[in-house]
């Protein structure tokens, strides 16, 4: 039992760490955009990169030129779930036949749908095909509410299941033994790290416990998502602005709901400053409430997007530098540089998860902090460490 379960854990980790760096090159060099043949020109490379950065309705791994001259695509389609004008509609994305230019019209539930740049549009009544306006937006179609299991949603579910499996089995281990074995031994220090280095010093010894579930889940969710983005499956979960907006909004609401009297007082009626300053500070502090989570969502999104763009750009070197260095030279250069950047990206994957969790904990800590500087005393008369002091000692 133990012998079989161990290699699975091991494989999962190894595939995360190695495949991302080594196989990325293989995937993207073979693959091409929209099944229109190999990527060769600068424009095609840019299009391909942009296509990768966006969410997708099918899970496309690679395509190849068959012996019959046809292009075969390897991957699988994902369900499309829409809330259209005539109620909910669901079908498989294969009905679009990998088309993302709005050419294939799918008729379901009394509505017509097209897939334009991986966004599903619902055609207005009577329209036979999509008509583009001057501003490159369709004029006779609108976006229905799209609850599809897209590639990113699939990735999110995958990450969720992985986390549940890993940490669920770690949690189960404690019933039988005090010290975890196997993969749990690697996970436990990470949990302790989040608790002791992120939550405790930032939120404070007495209040951190309540926020541990959120912080731990978000930390590992972002980290595993980032690492999954390094694999050749081509996930880009944390590079989706909707995902980072969602994560940052969670932090925002948790901060606002845990804010104590002091927190709101410091926003709307700053103590120890003249009245005129209090009034000037109100809009600034209110803006500060919003900029904190905004910086969180932009930082995560931008870092991951930039990482993916750089990796794909370096992989594309084997095409763009082929004329100057020859096939072997450009491929070798691309491989070395991609390997180098991928190692950095692995670091960034952790760093971004750490920073997001760290700042979330910091914002929560600021909201629950006791701002008055007379120290509390507990029953024995010892000074209770103020959150501010803890943070000072930490910094």
């Amino acid at each position: 039992m133990k012998i079989t379960s161990l290699p699975i854990h091991f494989l999962a980790v190894i595939s995360f760490l190695l495949c991302g760096t080594l196989l990325n090159a293989q995937e993207h060099s073979v693959a091409e955009a929209n099944d229109e043949g190999p990527v060769n020109t600068q424009q095609e490379i840019t299009d391909y990169t942009n296509h990768h950065l966006k969410d997708s309705h099918d899970f496309h791994l690679f395509s190849y030129q068959g012996s019959d001259g046809e292009r075969h695509s390897f991957g699988f389609s994902l369900p499309v779930i829409l809330w259209a004008s005539n109620g909910p509609v669901a079908f498989m994305s294969s009905e679009f036949h990998h088309d993302i230019d709005g050419g294939v019209v799918v008729e379901k539930g009394g509505s017509r749908f097209v897939n334009l740049h991986d966004k599903i549009y619902e055609l207005e009544d009577g329209a036979e095909e999509i008509v583009m306006g001057e501003d490159h937006h369709p004029v006779n179609a609108h976006k229905p509410f799209d609850l599809s299991i897209t590639k990113s949603v699939f990735g999110i579910l995958l990450v969720g299941l992985l986390l549940l499996f890993w940490f669920g089995s770690l949690g189960k281990q404690y019933k039988k033994k005090n010290i975890p074995t196997g993969f749990g031994r690697a996970l436990e220090p990470l949990v302790i790290y989040v608790r002791d280095e992120i939550a405790r010093p930032n939120i404070g010894e007495h209040k951190y416990r309540k926020y541990m579930s959120f912080l731990l889940t978000v930390f590992f969710f972002i980290w595993v998502s980032n690492l999954l983005g390094m694999t050749p499956f081509g996930f880009n979960i944390t590079g989706q602005i909707a995902v980072t907006v969602c994560l940052a909004l969670f932090t925002f609401f948790i901060v606002q709901f845990s804010g104590n009297k002091d927190y709101w007082k410091h926003i709307f009626w700053m103590p120890d400053v003249p009245v005129i300053m209090k009034i000037i500070l109100i809009p600034i502090e209110v803006l500060g409430m919003l900029t904190k989570p905004f910086s969180l969502l932009i930082r995560l999104f931008a870092n991951i997007t930039a990482g993916h763009v750089v990796v794909m750009g370096l992989i594309a070197l084997m095409i763009t530098l082929k004329a100057q260095f020859g096939a072997v030279g450009s491929t070798g250069l691309s491989l070395v540089l991609t390997l180098f950047i991928s190692v950095i990206e692995i670091l960034v994957a952790f760093l971004q998860a750490f920073i997001f969790t760290m700042l979330s904990a910091l914002f929560i800590g600021m909201a629950v902090a006791e701002h008055d500087h007379h120290h509390e005393h507990d029953e024995e008369g010892h000074e209770v460490d103020d959150v501010e002091d803890v943070r000072e000692s930490f910094v």
């Binding site: 509410f145 549940l164 940490f167 949690g171 579930s213 969710f221 989706q240 909707a242």
Partner: protein, 166 residues
Amino acid sequence: MDQLLNDFSPGLFVMQAVILIILILLMKKFAWKPILSSLDEREQGIQGALEAAEKARLEMKNLQADNEKALQEARAERDAMLKEAREIRTKMIAEAEGDAKAQADKIITQAQEAIAAEKRAAVAELKGQVAELSLEIAEKVVKQELSDKEKQQQYVDKMLQDATLN
């Protein structure tokens, strides 16, 4: 910015929010709660063990201090006993010396007294003998004187020569 807003997918946002909430709840129930409580338990256990070890160490120290104290007491007692013994010994020697001296003095005094008594007795006896001898000589001289003057003289000399004071 326009590109960002266009890329923002409300559907993905809703899916992420729902999945994240469910994930947090599931993780809390199946992972974080058991993990964190076990970690706390273990840390408390370690803390307890450390405290117990510290306590044992202190007890050991106390015990050692007690031993040391007992040892010191024993040593002091021994020293006191030795000192006492030495004192007794000195005292006994001194006493014995005193006794012996007194005895000797007494014996000497007695001897001196005996000598003095002997001497007195001897002198008295001598006196008696001298008196007796004088009388005898005087008698014989008187007797001789009557017969021969010269002979008398000789006789007296002879007598005197014989009369050695013994």
